[in-house]
């Protein structure tokens, strides 16, 4: 397996504005991004995504660690000699140049012939469906068009790696969805490694081959979208991606990567243990269950948990129930509205029973 980009124990420290303290924007991060992969960096605002990208592009220099692109160390390579290109968050189109000149800039810097430049720019503009806009200035374009110019300007150089910093952040929802699909198919078409920064989990999940979830400068989990969603390894990841119920209890026994958890009040549950799980029976643990994995039953069944419906909220495609366990813990449950009467299946105050597959409940380390 060849890696397009490797970050090895990278740390980046900024001084705080008052000059006294320091911010660890990126904290001992190790990432290996495969060739041709659509790789997303996902995390809340200020977690260090942009900084990571800027380190790869060469605008910042790490305080420690090493960056390699296709095996070549980048420490002494300035941004303009790195085989990467960036699509900036605000696009950073040159306002004094036309669309054509913007896209041609990188090729001109490489010293290609006029003819070749013209041909490749036209190809690139055709690829992002902007043919005919060559002579416009960036401010005469809509947000989505500007975004595509930025994309063409980066892709026309045929970089080994394309860095995208929340490229769809400024677009409205509909355009965003359309551009997500376009970007994804474009990436498959050109076969370039994409490193994509976003704080939108849905975007990351729909587009990426693999995702790295970051928080406070650290990478918490790397994996495919399914991995991350179905098997979160810690509480932050489970909480940040999608909606999750957390139930705390005491681990009673472990049996072939399945744990039994006692909640008190004579209730016990089963949950699966993650691969990185190192604990012993008797530990305080947290169990995570997604609301849509829980089934509500009107009658009891083997292993089902008793509960009472507190609130019923109709949200269109499904119905949300807030239920309370005898221990007092509150859980959310989502049931799809398949038939038009589904929303009336359970009423507030009704006693119900909850079940789920053992694989759907994850026992997490704190």
């Amino acid at each position: 397996m060849s890696y397009a980009v490797e970050l090895i124990n990278i740390t980046k420290i900024f001084p705080t504005p008052d000059g006294q303290g320091e911010v660890r924007a990126v904290d001992n991060v190790t990432l290996r991004i495969r060739d041709g992969e659509f790789f997303s960096l996902l995390g809340p605002s200020g977690c260090g995504k942009t900084t990571t990208l800027r380190l790869i592009a060469g605008f910042e220099r790490p305080n420690a660690g090493e960056i390699r692109i296709h095996g070549r160390p980048m420490a002494q390579i300035p941004p303009y000699r790195r085989p990467v290109n960036t699509v900036f968050q605000n696009y950073a189109l040159f306002p004094h140049m036309t669309v054509f000149e913007n896209v041609a800039f990188g090729l001109r810097m490489k010293g290609l012939s006029q003819k070749e430049i013209r041909q490749r720019v036209e190809e690139a503009l055709a690829m992002v469906r902007l043919t005919g806009m060559e002579d416009r200035k960036p401010r005469q374009l809509s947000g989505g068009q500007q975004q595509r110019v930025a994309l063409a300007r980066a892709l026309v150089n045929r970089p080994e790696v394309l860095l995208l910093d929340e490229p769809l952040g400024a677009l409205d929802l509909k355009l965003r969805k359309a551009m997500q699909l376009e970007l994804k198919s474009l990436q498959q078409q050109v076969g370039i490694t994409f490193i994509y920064v976003t704080h939108d989990q849905e975007e990351a999940i729909t587009m990426s081959d693999r995702i790295a979830v970051m928080n406070q400068g650290k990478v918490l989990q790397v994996g495919t979208p399914r991995d991350i969603y179905e098997h979160p390894e810690n509480r932050f990841v489970a909480d940040f991606i999608g909606e999750t119920n957390f139930i705390t209890g005491r681990l009673v026994e472990i049996n072939a990567r399945v744990g039994r958890v006692s909640l008190g009040a004579n209730l016990t549950l089963q949950g699966s243990l993650g691969e990185s799980w190192h604990g012993r029976p008797g530990d305080e643990v947290t169990l995570a269950v997604r609301p849509e994995k829980i089934s509500l039953l009107a009658e009891t069944r083997e292993g089902a948990l008793p509960a009472r419906v507190e609130h019923v909220i109709y949200v269109g495609n499904d119905t949300r129930y807030e239920v309370v366990l005898p221990t007092g813990a509150k859980l959310f449950v989502r049931e799809q509205n398949v038939r038009h009467t589904d929303a009336e299946r359970f009423r507030e105050g009704q006693n119900v029973w909850l079940t789920w597959e053992v694989e759907s409940a994850r026992i997490l380390t704190e």
Binding site: R61, N63, A64, Q76, P78
Partner: protein, 414 residues
């Protein structure tokens, strides 16, 4: 660890600018040598100044000069080539050549008294040395810093030193290091605090003029900012024209109106024939006031307009929506938001008003009415430079303090 990273980054950051700039600079000097050489070789045929033929009668300097220019041309070409190929020695050769050129400029000036050419050489050598020397990026500020240091800060320092001296009977400065000039300034002359009075008058005129300009200028700026777009630009232009017009001309315009044979007096005496004695309008304190107000009003209006224009008018609407009266809206919202403009405008009016020389001189008569006149008199008429320097120094300190205080109170934004 951090320091090594920074130096490393500086290395590659400046690398290419150094390359281009030194190629450019050495190219320039090479061009200069080529031109000078051509001048010698063509016997001054294409020179921009006729070449003294006598020089060529004497073969030795001609030969030496030609040899020198050829050598310089060769060295510079070598440096350019080396620099382009990023050779280490190019830097050393270039630096040595720069040092040689400095020496050459000195010798050349001593022999020919041709200041301009010597300065050109010095400038080139300095710039080349600056570029070739492994200098930090902020070396960009050095030319300005050097110029301001030598021709602005050092003179101010000299002024202070001179202010501690005494005037000799012939009008030259004797460096005695006394404070007596300051004592004289703050003391009584013939029972009156003569100089303090002049100073106080200038200060007072400055304050009143600033206040008046603000009082009349603010409504004008507000009015312009509220005009529809197209008319607004016209009115703005109408304020900018006086701003860009020579101050002397604008002051003189008032002389044409106010003097004894001026427009007003001609009207009263010749047209209306109400009197046969001209009204004394020029050379009065009123005329000085008028001149200052007229002169500096645009300096107040333009910064005010800029900050009013930049203001978000929806805030005014929000305040009105919350029930504030027009006056309250102005005082509580508009005034604080346009504070940068008020501060900038006030400084632009206050400082030149206090230090005004042209207005009191032309409109106030040649009497010593303000500090500006006092300084001119001490320097150009009485030639008491030490005392003049002391007055200048006090004026400078006062202005600095006033500006600083004003900035503090008005919020630091310019």
């Amino acid at each position: 660890m951090t320091t090594t990273t920074i130096t490393a980054s500086r290395e590659w950051r400046t690398g290419n600018i150094t390359l281009q700039a030194s190629a450019l600079l050495f190219g320039l000097s090479a061009l200069l040598w080529a031109v000078l050489l051509a001048r010698w070789l063509t016997f001054g045929l294409f020179a921009w100044t006729p070449w003294p033929v006598e020089v060529f009668l004497d073969a030795w300097p001609a030969g030496a000069a030609i040899a020198l220019y050829v050598a310089l041309l060769g060295v510079d070409a070598l440096v350019i080539l080396g620099v382009r190929r990023r050779r280490r020695w190019a830097r050393h050769v270039g630096l040595a050549r720069s040092v040689a050129l400095v020496l050459l400029a000195v010798v050349y000036y001593a022999l020919s008294r041709d200041l301009v050419m010597a300065l050109v050489w010095l400038g080139l050598a300095g710039a080349q040395a600056l570029v070739l020397w492994p200098s930090p990026p902020w070396a960009l500020s050095w030319p300005a810093a050097l110029w301001l240091g030598i021709f602005f800060m050092f003179p101010l320092f000299l002024m202070f030193v001179v202010s501690l001296g005494e005037r000799s009977s012939t009008g030259t400065v004797v460096y005695t290091f006394t404070l007596q000039n300051y004592a004289r300034f703050f003391g009584r002359i013939g029972g009156r605090f003569l100089y303090l009075l002049i100073f106080w008058r200038s200060l007072w005129l400055g304050i009143v003029n600033t206040a008046l300009c603000l009082l009349f200028g603010y409504p004008l700026a507000l009015w312009i900012a509220r005009q529809p777009e197209r008319r607004r630009n016209t009115y703005l232009l109408l304020v900018m024209i006086p701003f860009w017009t020579n101050f002397l001309v604008r002051t003189y315009a008032w002389m044409v109106i106010l003097r004894d044979t001026g427009v007003i007096n001609t009207f009263i005496m010749d047209v209306l024939a109400w009197t046969d004695r001209p009204l004394r309008l020029l050379y009065t304190p009123g005329a000085v006031f008028l001149g200052l107000f007229y002169g500096y009003l645009p300096f107040m209006v333009l910064p005010l307009y800029a900050s009013i224009e930049r203001m978000d008018w929806s805030l005014v609407e929000a305040a009105q929506d919350l029930g504030a009266s027009t006056w309250r809206v102005f005082w509580e919202v508009v005034r604080p938001l346009t504070m940068p403009g008020i501060v900038a405008g006030s400084i632009l009016v206050f400082i030149p008003s206090v230090g005004a020389y042209v207005t009191p001189d032309l409109l106030g008569g040649a009497k010593v009415t303000m500090v500006g006149n006092l300084l001119q008199q001490q320097f150009l008429v009485v030639r008491d430079w030490p005392f003049g320097s002391a007055v200048g120094f006090i004026l400078m300190i006062l202005m600095l303090v006033a500006t600083m205080v004003y900035f503090r109170t008005g919020g630091r934004t310019l």
